[in-house]
């Protein structure tokens, strides 16, 4: 296994607050890597740093050898980093199919005139987009509701649709921000299976933030624990679980 994402001494300050403070770890290819920590530990900030939505204050982020530090989010996405959002950011006024089609943007090339005049290449591409989007919706089990508005979906289905949208980008690294939030226990169990399935099927590397401890322990190959912006533990689930500093961070010490 070789490293796909390299986080080296990365920091992010918001005014005087160090939301992420000198964090280093490496995510290996094909791994399911969990990022856990109490609320406000800096997990989502770290996701935003990786996907380019927030600029880093210091340190180096690199993906497959390419430095990410100064790239805008759309270029990061183009490199093959897909993500979902903690508070679900679907295109709510558009259909499920359109949501997925949109993510094919960086994998297609039709320009203004190609689209308008329907040049053969653009036409073919459009057919492919449609077919591919349909396949991905089928994969998450939403193909029978392709034409319904994203806003009409239940919370769990919106989460699945958001994963489908991220998959349509053809990522090699998938960032999942609390994918199980708001799901019932049966759905959570299904999600574990599903994440493994897509990892194998698309040769993905997955970095995920999750609060639900059994899910993280059962799913992840390795786990990093953040607390107040600092990395306090890193390793396989069984080790991290026993780490005294992790127990202290979650339950409170002294």
């Amino acid at each position: 296994m070789t490293g796909l994402l390299d986080v080296k001494g990365v920091s992010r300050c918001f005014g005087g607050l160090k939301a992420v403070n000198d964090v280093s770890f490496r995510v290996e290819k094909g791994e399911i890597f969990g990022l856990i920590g109490p609320n406000g530990a800096g997990k989502t900030t770290l996701f935003n740093l990786i996907s380019g939505l927030t600029p880093v204050s210091g340190g180096i982020l690199s993906y497959d050898g390419v430095p990410l530090n100064s790239l805008p989010p759309h270029k990061v996405a183009r490199l093959g980093i897909g993500r979902t959002f903690q508070n679900i950011r679907l295109f709510k006024g558009l259909s499920a199919l359109e949501n997925v089609k949109i993510a094919r943007h960086s994998r297609t090339r039709a320009g203004l005139w190609g689209s308008v005049f329907g040049f053969p290449a653009s036409h073919r591409e459009e057919q492919e987009v449609k077919q591919r989007a349909g396949e991905i919706l089928a994969l998450v089990g939403l193909d029978n509701r392709a034409d319904e508005l994203a806003s009409s979906f239940s919370y769990g289905d919106q989460r699945r649709l958001e994963i489908a949208r991220a998959l349509a980008l053809e990522p090699r690294l998938l960032l999942l921000d609390e994918p199980a939030a708001g799901m019932n226990s049966a759905e959570k169990h299904g999600l574990t299976q599903f994440i493994r399935e897509i990892r194998d099927r698309f040769n993905l590397t997955i970095l995920l933030i999750e609060h639900h401890v059994p899910l993280v322990m059962g799913l992840c190959d390795r786990i990093a624990v953040l607390n107040f912006g600092e990395l306090i533990a890193l390793g396989p689930p069984a080790e991290v679980q026993k780490d005294p500093s992790v127990i202290e961070a979650y339950l409170g010490g002294d």
Binding site: L53, P72, P73, F85, L94, I102, H105, S122, V129
Partner: protein, 303 residues
Amino acid sequence: MAEFLNNYGFLIVTVVQQALLGMSLYYPLSAGQLSLASPGFYALGGYIAAIIGTAELFAPWRDLLGKAVFPLEWIIAGVASALLSLVIGLPALRLRGIYLALATIAFVQIVRVISLNLSITGGAIGIFGIPQLFESRWGYIWIFGPLLAATLLFTWRLEQGRIGRAFRAIREDELAAEAMGINPTRYKAQAFIIGGTLAGVVGAMSAPFLNTWNARQGTFDASIAYLAYVLIGGTRSLWGALLGAALLATLPEILRPLNDSRLIINGMVLVIVSIYLPQGIVGALARLRGAGKKKGVPAGGKT
């Protein structure tokens, strides 16, 4: 028929022309950008056509080209507006929502003040006696009509494909669009440029149609009027601008017998539509059709 055209020809052409101007505002709106810059480009296009049509400097062009000078005016106006929209759009589109609207209003004002003070634009008097392309007002339907048809077709095709999807994605959630690999700056600028170019071409076609061109052509009032077409017609459909323009441009004529009180009714229509039909007329029609369909499905059935 001749009498009908005599009476209403001008009105019909005006509706088509106003619909085109509404469309010019629809593109940035479809990418989530509230831009009111259209009258600025419309004024610019009109001045270009008026100056080429009347200035001594361009007399050789007119002699050489005859009527072919008109399409040349449209092309020059289109190119000039496209370039200017690029120059204005790139910095202005960094602003969001109401701030973009304000910046574009400022642009319209700048164009107006400049044209009021330059001698080439005829100052406050403007340019008059612009050579005609057709013998009657009605004749202009032969340029505005095809332009509207082409614009609707263009828009329809655009919205089916990759670029239209990028516009919608940015409108729905710019940040998520960016995380999905869409460069928002690029597509916002594209939408803005398409709108600006269209407004410029319509201006160049309108200068002969209106015979005179002055600083009153591109004003804040016009910004609001075009916005009203799109809002009343429906912001989510390419037919919105046409329907809105048809309603709002003919309403004052239909209500002419009421004299001054017609303006009150005009205003009331605006208020009523925005309260009761928030999605515009097209949105309301789509909902009606949706409701009609659902009735055919037995209770509990999936639609």
